[in-house]
Amino acid sequence: MEEALLRAVLFGTPLLLAGLGALLSERGGVVNLGVEGMMALSALVAFAVGLQVHPALGVLAGMGVGSLLGLFLGVFAVSLRANQFVAGLALAALGLGASGLLGKRYEGTPLPNPLPEGMLAMLALILALGLHLLLSRTRFGLYLRSVGENPKAADLFGVSVDGVRYLALALGGGMIGLAGAYLSLAYRPSWTDGMTAGLGWVAIALVILAAWQPLRAIFGAYLFGLLFFLQFRLQGSVPIPSEAFAAMPYLLVILVLALSGRARAPKALGQPFDRGR
């Protein structure tokens, strides 16, 4: 039982971090479908720096790369007013491909001094609380929400819509980068091509599952982590085929999504803001 809860937290952590990152920009009206690619690339950079310099610096490097990729997405999704979904998907593919291409020489190398998972798990929890406070208690949170709900009105009140969205993408990107760093520096700890294995997509679903609330994201992420662990813990002790168990975490996500139809997305989500129109 204790073991299951521990696994729920430790496997839920990368999901929580990436989910928070996506949530942050979505609250500002920018859909980020690039999470998977952002995680992949930051996992690689974090590992490379962690291996050659120090794992703590690797974490910072991973976050930095995540932020840069967030800003990169902003160039298309915010400044150029491209379709956010297409831009995000392109970033996902780009990140995965680039990490596979650049990371070849790091494959099969173990990290001699990995980071403790528990410490990063605590950090993720603190970040979730912090993000909750940021959204609900601060001026920036107010700006961010107004930009996500009604960018036109925010603009009229003198809020820089593009500026706030860029900032949200950079901050969110940092969290996504931290998720990638967690995978390669603490959870594995090594790097292989495709090691994110779809977690980025689950993180995007988690945002909806959590109804865009950071505190709910904590439970969503841990629940997924718990089910992911239980599929192996219960396998063989109950007469259910292993394939059905393997599908369980994903089925649950779909179920909750179906039931949470009432959760309201930020009104301007996915819409590029164009002052002239």
């Binding site: 292989t192 091509d193 294995a197 085929p241």
Partner: protein, 379 residues
């Protein structure tokens, strides 16, 4: 005019490309750097290329099963004369491609269906798994050995059974707890499956999947483990006891030489099936190349005793004796020598008989001591 010129250039290019080089092309199921299955095939490809000056190779990695046929089309267009398909799941694509291109030679790793231009090949580990099972049985204090397995297919079942027979030969009460992750490559699943087994008391681990995750996870809790496919000692130098190591190059070089010499043609491969073992040097027992057992664990294994034919022998000596026997040209020992019952009590291999190749390749039953879900278990 331009079109004609284009075709002419293409034809010229093709003729030049043919030369007297033999072009062999590889379809990989995973990324080449995964330290597992695909990595091992790629090491084999490189060694073959280094050993055979007339050989030219190409490869495409991470090819999903549904994409295998388009890759075959592309390879044939590029002038590949021999195509190696390195995953069981490519079977239909290979057979279809072989019909479409009757002059191209296909070889299908782990395959079970052949055609005039389709051979099958396998470097099999069941003997090595048995030997590692002996060591695992001796090292486990809880009597629970963890096995993280990819897919419930005959190949993996055969390995689990061989391993379990080994474990039980040392400790007749031991259990091998099997967890399926239904993936060849999924580090997160391998990690959580290992965590689940640790939580259930397993203290020695082996696996059949494509990452060193099980080793890394087990080592954190001080549990012993066995590497798979490539030398994995470096991932946990204090905890990796031994492992299974493949030498695909041995098969690739033999096969390609015979193609080059004209022994193998696109018409006579119907009966060409490599099932190469320790005696062919296609597989090796080891934590690293040339290290059958991690020296750190030799004293423990020397101290451990087991009963063979009513007599007490040291586990280490038994492993080494059997390894030597199975590496010899005419081995006398085979792990699947009857009488062997499955875990439901059905006699699967009669007393004094060895399992036939057919029986090995279609093995669906579970050996006594295997604990866990077992899809496709015969009633």
């Amino acid at each position: 005019m331009r079109r004609i010129l284009g075709w002419l250039l293409l034809a010229l290019g093709l003729a030049w490309a043919q030369g007297d080089k033999l072009k062999a092309c590889f379809i990989y199921v995973g990324p080449i750097g995964d330290a597992g299955w695909t990595y091992a095939h790629d090491v084999g490809r490189k060694k073959a290329e280094a050993a055979l000056p007339w050989l030219e190779t190409r490869y495409v990695e991470s090819v999903p099963e549904a994409q295998a046929l388009p890759v075959i089309d592309r390879f044939v267009k590029e002038g590949c004369q021999v195509i190696f398909a390195t995953s069981f799941g490519y079977m239909e694509a290979v057979l279809e491609g072989a019909k479409k291109y009757p002059n191209v030679i296909f070889a299908h790793a782990t395959g079970i269906k052949r055609a005039p231009n389709v051979a099958t090949y396998m470097a099999d580990f069941y003997q090595v798994y048995y030997l590692n099972g002996l060591a695992a049985g001796a090292l486990s204090r809880t009597g629970k050995v963890g096995y993280v397995a990819a897919f419930p297919i005959p190949e993996v079942k055969r390995h689990i059974n061989a391993f379990t027979l080994g474990v039980r030969a040392v400790n007749p009460k031991a259990q091998v707890l099997v967890r399926w992750i239904n993936a060849w490559y999924d580090p997160a699943k391998a990690r959580e499956a290992t965590e689940a087994l640790l939580a259930q008391g397993a203290d020695v681990f082996t696996f059949t999947e494509d990452t060193p995750t099980v080793i890394q996870t087990a080592a954190k809790k001080g549990a012993y483990s066995f590497g798979h496919y490539t030398p994995m000692l470096k991932f946990a130098p204090d905890h990796v006891v031994s492992g299974q190591i493949v030498h695909w190059d041995v098969i690739y070089i033999d096969f390609l030489k015979k193609v080059k010499e004209g022994v193998y043609t696109p018409k006579n491969l119907e009966k060409v099936d490599y099932f190469w073992l320790l005696q062919h040097k296609a597989v090796e027992m080891g934590a690293d190349y040339g290290v059958p057992i991690n020296p750190k664990h030799v004293p423990l294994l020397k101290k451990a005793q087991m009963t063979v034919g009513g007599k007490k022998v040291g586990v280490y000596d038994r492993i080494m004796a059997l390894l030597k026997d199975m590496q010899s040209p005419k081995p006398t020992f085979d792990p699947f020598t009857g009488p062997i019952q499955d875990r439901k009590g059905v006699l699967r291999i009669p007393a004094g008989k060895k399992a036939t190749l057919e029986e090995l390749l279609t093995m669906e039953w579970a050996a006594p001591g295997v604990v866990g879900d077992w899809p496709g278990e015969p009633r």
